[in-house]
């Protein structure tokens, strides 16, 4: 069984920008090792010299003219989607 410590869960949560509750941390500390142990069976497969497949479309380098395409969506419509906006800008908490 893959060993996952509480610190490991917290580290992954930080990488994932997830502020988990204590209960969620406990549950993930149980679930993650089970899932990781299951997927580890892949190590049984001999993949020496096999190229990875990152995408399955047989397309490559689809070109288009470098022109501006009007998508019919205004700046105001996009700003309206933001939880908080002010003076034509999205409002965020102080960073520094």
């Amino acid at each position: 069984m893959t060993d996952i410590s509480r610190d490991d869960v917290l580290h992954l949560a930080q990488l994932s920008s997830l502020q988990l509750s204590d209960q969620e941390i406990d549950e993930l500390q149980v679930d993650l090792p089970h899932i990781l142990t299951y997927v580890q069976q892949l190590s049984e497969l001999d993949t020496t010299g096999v190229e990875p497949t990152y995408q399955v479309t047989d397309l490559e380098n689809v070109w288009r003219d470098d022109t501006i395409v009007e998508y019919g969506i205004s700046r105001e419509q996009l700003l309206d989607l933001a939880p908080e906006s002010t003076a034509h800008s999205i409002k965020v908490p102080k960073v520094l």
């Binding site: 969620e24 892949l42 049984e44 993949t47 399955v56 996009l78 989607l81 939880p83 908490p93």
Partner: protein
């Protein structure tokens, strides 16, 4: 049965408005199934009136349909069944919807799903599960559970869904309707909430293969807004006689429900009776595909879901103390447990030190899977097998064990990872009256052949 032709004759005999009103009424009468999250009444009726006055025309003029609520659409929020997008009003529509609307079809509502399409039962919806159309104590399947159930209940003749690892085929099988997962790149994904970009596909549910084929012919094709879309190839075709069909041995093991195997064998017999050759074939690598899937997909999920940061759109936590606090709490509050589980697994398999052993190994194994499929397609036109190991399971039966839930996907993920088309076709019911589907899998761009094969059998 409610098929598109019947709806069209009803429209001719009465009006598009009365047909759309009837669909909305029927949808509300069946709200106990919780198949729909929202209704688009005012927009739908406005469009129906335009059909009746001749302002809107097309091959689907006035025909009502439903879309999974991860499709951006006008007239109702696009929630992806999550609190993250609970009040998200889409500023644009998915290309697939635009194409259907260009033919006069009318979207009447948005269907329930597992939040962000993560799941196989619709139990991960932030707004509660959808019930199976044949047994309300059982799951609808997922993640496109709502779309399957509205089709099975004959509320609409077809509904759109997305299939990343079985999310159309499995609920289609659980609810006795046709479900199509096309070749990767067949239908534009523009305006559909991204899950795993290397396997996400858009497809349809319908009550017959003939209707599914018609809808696919409309929504397929190149879209400049999704550069993975393939040039038009989806043209409905006549049945090719005497095809060679391989019944996948590994999908017929003792671990698969005997009734599921029996219905699959009966379907094989029906194919033989039509003059096709059905032989057992072996695809040993399928035993590893679920492991590949639950590495590759969480990796892509963790990347795709990084965009939900509480800044530009979606849920933002109240009174954040810092930017990090805003991100962390918005995401914790906006995602359901399964979303977080997949994001965390994705972060793990992509992190330095583990990348080669997990992610890279899975992508190499994926190459081996594709090779194995290609070898079979040198000798066989189509592969046959069940869609799921069992008929619909009970609500709550698998929710406490993620691996057990994932195992329901074991026969649908191979086609997803290989990017090849696969359809789920009704093949009868169990003794308990639960629908059982069979899966027809073909090589890239053979979608129309799979559908014509299924159509030729349903015409019997």
């Amino acid at each position: 049965m409610t098929n598109i032709a019947e709806i069209q004759s009803q429209i001719k005999a009465s009006s598009a408005r009365s047909v759309v009103e009837a669909a909305l009424t029927k949808a509300r009468d069946n709200e106990n199934y919780h198949a729909l999250l929202s209704f688009t009444d005012s927009r739908a009726l406005e469009r129906a009136d335009k059909v009746d006055s001749g302002q809107i025309t097309g091959r689907l003029a006035g025909v009502p349909f439903v879309v999974k609520d991860n499709f951006l659409a006008f007239g109702a929020p696009t929630t992806a069944a999550s609190h993250m997008l609970e009040s998200f009003q889409a500023p644009l529509q998915a290309t697939a919807i635009e194409k259907l609307e260009a033919e006069g079809a009318i979207c009447i509502g948005k269907a329930n799903l597992d939040a962000f399409a993560h799941g196989g039962s619709t139990e991960n919806s932030a707004f509660g599960p959808t019930k199976n159309a044949f047994d309300m104590s059982r799951v609808a399947g997922g993640s496109s559970g709502g779309s399957a159930v509205v089709t099975a209940l004959h509320i609409v003749p077809f509904a759109l869904g997305s299939d990343t690892g079985g999310s159309i085929r499995q609920p289609a099988s659980f609810n006795g309707v046709v479900g199509v997962k096309p070749t990767y790149g067949t239908v534009s994904r523009y305006g559909v909430v991204a899950m795993a970009s290397s396997t996400d596909t858009i497809g349809t549910f319908a009550t017959s293969a003939a209707d599914a084929e018609f809808i696919m012919s409309i929504i397929s094709g190149r879209d400049a807004r999704d550069m993975t879309t393939l040039p038009d190839f989806f043209v409905p075709q006549a049945i090719r006689p005497a095809q060679k069909i391989g019944l996948i041995k590994e999908f017929m093991s003792d671990e698969v429900d005997p009734e599921v195997r029996a219905r699959t064998n009966e379907y094989a017999e029906r194919l033989r009776a039509e003059g096709h050759v059905v032989e057992e074939v072996s695809l040993p690598i399928v035993q590893y595909t679920l492991a590949m899937y639950y590495i590759i997909v969480p990796a892509e999920v963790s990347s795709n879901l990084a965009r939900y940061d509480g800044i530009r759109y979606g849920h933002r936590a109240a009174a954040p103390t810092s930017l990090g606090d805003l991100y962390g709490r918005s995401r914790d509050e906006g995602f359901v447990a399964e979303n977080k589980r997949r994001i965390m697994i994705g972060s793990y398999v992509l992190s330095s030190g583990f990348f080669d052993a997990y992610y890279q190994q899975a992508q190499k194994a994926r190459t081996l899977l594709i090779r194995a499929f290609n070898e079979l397609f040198e000798s066989y036109d189509v592969l046959l097998g069940p869609v799921t190991p069992t008929p619909a399971f009970r609500l709550g039966e698998n929710t406490s064990d993620p691996i057990k839930m994932y195992l329901a996907d074991i026969m649908t993920v191979p086609a997803s990872l290989a990017g090849i088309p696969a359809i789920s076709v009704p093949a009868g019911v169990s003794q308990a009256g639960l629908p059982i589907g069979v899966q027809l899998i073909g090589q890239r761009r053979s979608d129309a052949n799979l559908l014509s094969l299924a159509r030729s059998l349903e015409e019997k």
